[in-house]
Symmetry: C2
């Protein structure tokens, strides 16, 4: 009885898909979004460009999937659980996650492609909207879930909006990194958490 | 007695300089940073390209000066005083300034060129560093001065770092605008101020 060919074919597909993701991320980091083409990705991945056209409708779609895959692989490699940690110590949990974000943003494997895709989303409304919906929104939702749990446990004030609170935590890191105002460090991540949790006012 | 030619010549210079600024801002918004050239700016401004080369060392230098000039003209038009308002009511003062920032970021006159220059600074470290030093740092300093005054008046906690506090206030607006996560509104600006001042914790 001849074995089915499906497993081999599926493994070949996975290898090709991974090669295409890696090629897309490398090219956008080196050449920028505008000069990255389906043809260039295909050549670098060692596949025919029809393979890419068969699986994805556009260059943007290839790149967004490559970024999602990269983030998932990084989370697996780090042994991170799905969702934010919840040890009951909110400040410690947030510092752990934001320090990991600092490491990721400072890692050349992420930095080049992430800067290139973010920059293009800033000037291209359609790509920016996809980037926000497919890559940012799911990450923001993990924070909202964790903050809402802390709010229900009475640790956070009842009148805060978790969606706004998330931005107080993550936007300062993104701002400092994207706009290159000051170095992005673990100490800064810790400081942002402390300032956001305790607030600025002497009396409130 | 023939009048000196200096005043006329100076007025001509000012007119040319303004025309060059306007041309540079319009071009970068339409074509992006990469496709904006000194030749293109000169043609649109109706000056010879040697005029531009005589006054500025690079395309980046023209654009950075054009942005500084645009921000100064906007502040003058709005009758804004130099520095942040200080009525003694910190929350009201911050909301007033951040609402004005929302209006500016949503104004097409600013939005196109600001997105184009910001995007380029994200992928070009040298331009990004100049952008941070010449355009962002002076704005951040105005906030630091206002927050330090409030700290000295005992309104803000003694242990906060005004430089970090500024980022809690301005980064969420920049993040939402640049990354197109949700609409940028006055209500959001107010909410950011309230969350940052009062903090997230139920007890602290």
């Amino acid at each position: 009885m001849a074995p089915s060919k499906a497993p081999d074919s599926s493994r070949r597909s996975d290898r090709s898909r991974r090669a295409i993701h890696d090629a897309a991320l490398a090219l956008i980091a080196e050449a920028g979004y505008g000069r990255t083409t389906i043809e260039g990705i295909a050549a670098r991945a060692g596949v025919g460009k029809q393979t890419i056209y068969r699986w994805w409708p556009s260059k943007a779609a290839v790149l967004l999937e490559a970024f999602t895959d990269l983030a998932e692989r990084a989370a697996e490699a780090a042994g991170e659980p799905r969702g934010l940690p919840d040890t009951g110590d909110l400040a410690a949990d947030l510092k752990r996650v934001l320090r990991a974000t600092v490491d990721e943003l400072n890692d050349p494997v992420f930095e080049g492609p992430t800067r290139a895709l973010t920059a293009e989303g800033i000037v291209d409304p359609e790509l920016g909207a996809q980037f926000a919906e497919k890559l940012l929104a799911p990450q923001v939702q993990l924070y909202v879930t964790r903050l809402r749990a802390a709010q229900e446990a009475g640790q956070l004030r009842a009148d805060i909006d978790p969606r706004v609170a998330v931005e107080l935590l993550i936007a300062p890191l993104t701002h400092r990194w994207l706009l290159r105002t000051l170095p992005l460090t673990h100490a800064y991540a810790d400081s942002v958490v402390d300032h956001a949790l305790c607030g600025l006012l002497a009396d409130r």
